[in-house]
């Protein structure tokens, strides 16, 4: 008797844990969070693998470089590299991985190879806002204008306006974004000379003082104008077409006819009845886009010499500054994961049909 009870208690205990995990998994928000953490974990592991485990990896190469010509002893080189990479080279591999993870969680991404002693985190944070500003503005503008045009195109289905807008939208969005950028430079800057591109390089003009002055803000906008235009043009097509389709679908819905039967004015129907239903899935797409667009920004920043994260990555690649490369890769992955999470949460808040007991 006495022996049976502890066994039962044990079974009950395991059951409890399984049930708890099961409930956790079922809750949509928690599940999304768990997946996000998992993705970041995988990204960290891949990063670690790339730099440490593969043959010809940067860590060993760096040690080789430092010890060449007897400039340093192997131990000294190892010590220096360890410091740079936030890795303990003497410990067994699993422990190295663990401490790498630990450091990353504490925001320590190592130090740059080139700017000795400058933490990677700091470097990235210095350039990140510029990218986010250009990308964010371009995306938001393209969204706002795109859904407006898409809505109009749907309401004027089959008209010249509709065909023109839809065709233009799909053409511009099929052209690779860096080609659009080059074309802008080529046509506007060099051939037609309406845009002073040489003056627009960089994030802000050398002489201007950073700060919240009108001068500075104006200058920043001047320099960001071309990148923002490229992001605007290359994304607007998608919003126009998506909104057009969503609006056409919403217009077919019975509740729109029912709203007209109630004598509701067209303005109210377009905004709260058709518009709101059509735009709902697009808002989450917007959140997800933010995550991905940072990847495409790299080439744009190079063409316009715009000092954001993308350009910094390219410089790190050119200079073999592996800690910075690794840090940026990790950071961008994390931001994509966060953006997806936000998108999921946003959708469940915006659509009353989700998450509420029916």
């Amino acid at each position: 008797m006495a022996a049976a009870i502890p066994a039962e208690a044990k079974i009950a205990a395991t059951f409890d844990a399984r049930q708890q995990l099961g409930t956790l998994w079922r809750h949509p928000v928690l599940r999304a969070a768990l997946k996000a953490v998992l993705t970041v974990l995988v990204a960290t592991t891949i990063t670690f693998t790339l730099i440490r485990l593969l043959p010809g990896n940067p860590v060993d190469l760096r040690i080789d470089e430092l010890t060449r010509d007897g400039a340093m002893t192997y131990e000294e080189a190892r010590a220096q590299v360890a410091g740079l990479y936030a890795i303990e080279l003497d410990a067994p591999l699993p422990q190295q991985y663990a401490s790498f993870l630990w450091n990353v969680l504490h925001g320590d991404l190592g130090n740059s190879f080139l700017s000795r002693g400058t933490p990677v985190t700091g470097i990235i944070l210095a350039v990140l806002p510029w990218t986010l500003f250009a990308v964010g503005t371009g995306l938001l503008l393209s969204f706002a204008v795109g859904i407006g045009l898409g809505l109009l195109a749907a309401y004027r289905r089959g008209s010249v306006f509709d065909q023109a807008v839809s065709t233009a939208g799909s053409i511009v969005s099929s052209v690779p974004n860096y080609l659009v950028a080059i074309l802008l430079v080529l046509v506007l800057g060099v051939q037609l000379r309406i845009v002073p591109i040489t003056q627009m390089r960089g994030a802000y003009s050398p002489g201007v003082q950073p700060g919240l002055s009108l001068d500075f803000i104006g200058d920043v906008l001047f320099h960001a104008a071309l990148p923002i235009t490229v992001f605007f043009l290359t994304h607007i097509g998608h919003w126009i077409l998506s909104m057009r389709n969503a609006t056409l679908a919403a217009l077919e819905e019975d509740f729109v006819v029912a709203a007209r039967a109630r004598g509701l004015p067209d303005s109210r129907i377009t905004t709260a009845y058709v518009g709101r239903n059509a735009v709902l899935p697009l808002v989450t797409q917007l959140a997800i886009s933010v995550g991905f667009i940072v990847g495409g920004a790299v080439l744009i920043e190079q063409i316009f010499v715009y000092q954001g994260v993308g350009l910094r990555l390219l410089r790190a690649v050119a200079q073999r500054d592996y800690p910075v490369m690794q840090g940026i890769l990790l950071l961008v992955t994390v931001s994509v994961v966060v953006a997806n999470l936000v998108a999921d949460l946003l959708y469940s808040r915006l659509d009353p049909r989700i998450g509420r007991a029916a």
Partner: protein, 282 residues
């Protein structure tokens, strides 16, 4: 459905027709024309950056070479890599997608999780980092690297399709006849998924072209010879971008790449007509 009737359906709508003509034209130019027109790589410093003329319909480059000739020869590497990458990613997606759906359980969860992670990771940046680390030179390697990131989207679609088709009657009928799993997947289900696969293949190609040219322009793929991307790379690195005489030299590869992408997208649009009879006109 025969190839002729397939083409006829696609060509019925202007979008499909444009897609067919465009893709067809580019394939002919990339593979057939070089058999007839010899490459011209002689340097002629006297003729640098000439504007278009009868002798040089697209002008000349910074070393006096004919641009049109470079455009004709410049597509081959890019199209080759795009085709291989698209083929690889489609194969991976179809194989693992249907396996995951039919086997279910832990295999399914594992495959799905990996796919989700790959989908989340920012492709271009990973490609940049990988290219910087591995310095790929042959185009097969480039294709492999590109394919390794592209399969995830199609895999999810294939998996979803197979999951829904699994429950359908004709599958049950096939299985009750003791036909093997392999037979069921490839003879019964795939024809229904042909639309997804074909359209994904085309978009995988556009993605591969985008990524390739991007990496080349950044100088991360050391290629030589005539190549649309390399032309742009030289334009960038030599500051030709800001030089007004080099307009045609730069515009030509841009047009070539853009028109190729547009043709692919148009063809995909046209293919939707084939697979969605409700959209067919007439």
């Amino acid at each position: 459905m025969s190839v002729i009737s397939l083409i006829a359906i696609i060509a019925r709508r202007p979008v499909g027709l444009i897609g067919l003509l465009g893709v067809g034209g580019f394939l002919v130019m990339t593979y057939a024309v070089p058999l007839v027109v010899p490459p011209q790589s002689t340097v002629d410093v006297a003729n640098v950056y000439r504007t278009p003329s009868l002798v040089h319909p697209l002008g000349t480059d910074f070393e006096g070479r004919d641009v049109l000739n470079q455009i004709i020869y410049g597509g081959r590497d890019i199209v080759n890599v795009a085709l291989i990458a698209a083929l690889l990613s489609t194969l991976i997606a179809v194989t693992f997608g249907s396996l995951a759906a039919t086997l279910g359980g832990k295999v399914d969860t594992a495959v799905l999780t990996i796919a989700d992670v790959v989908l989340t990771v920012p492709q271009l940046i990973v490609l940049i980092v990988v290219a910087a680390l591995f310095r790929p030179e042959g185009f097969v390697l480039v294709a492999l690297i590109l394919a390794s990131l592209q399969w995830a989207g199609l895999l999810r679609q294939i998996r979803a399709q197979v999951l829904s088709l699994k429950e359908r009657e004709y599958v049950e009928a096939a299985r009750s006849l003791d036909l093997s799993l392999f037979h069921v997947i490839f003879r019964e289900m795939l024809p229904n998924m042909a639309s997804y696969v074909a359209i994904h293949f085309i978009f995988a190609m556009t993605g591969a072209v985008y990524a390739q040219v991007g990496l080349i322009v950044l100088g991360l793929i050391p290629l030589s010879g005539a190549n649309w991307g390399v032309m742009l790379y030289f334009a960038q690195s030599q500051g030709a971008l800001y030089f007004s005489d080099s307009f045609w030299y730069i515009l030509s590869p841009i047009l070539a790449i853009s028109l190729f992408q547009l043709s692919l997208v148009a063809l995909a649009s046209g293919l939707e007509d084939v697979f969605n009879p409700r959209l067919r006109v007439g």
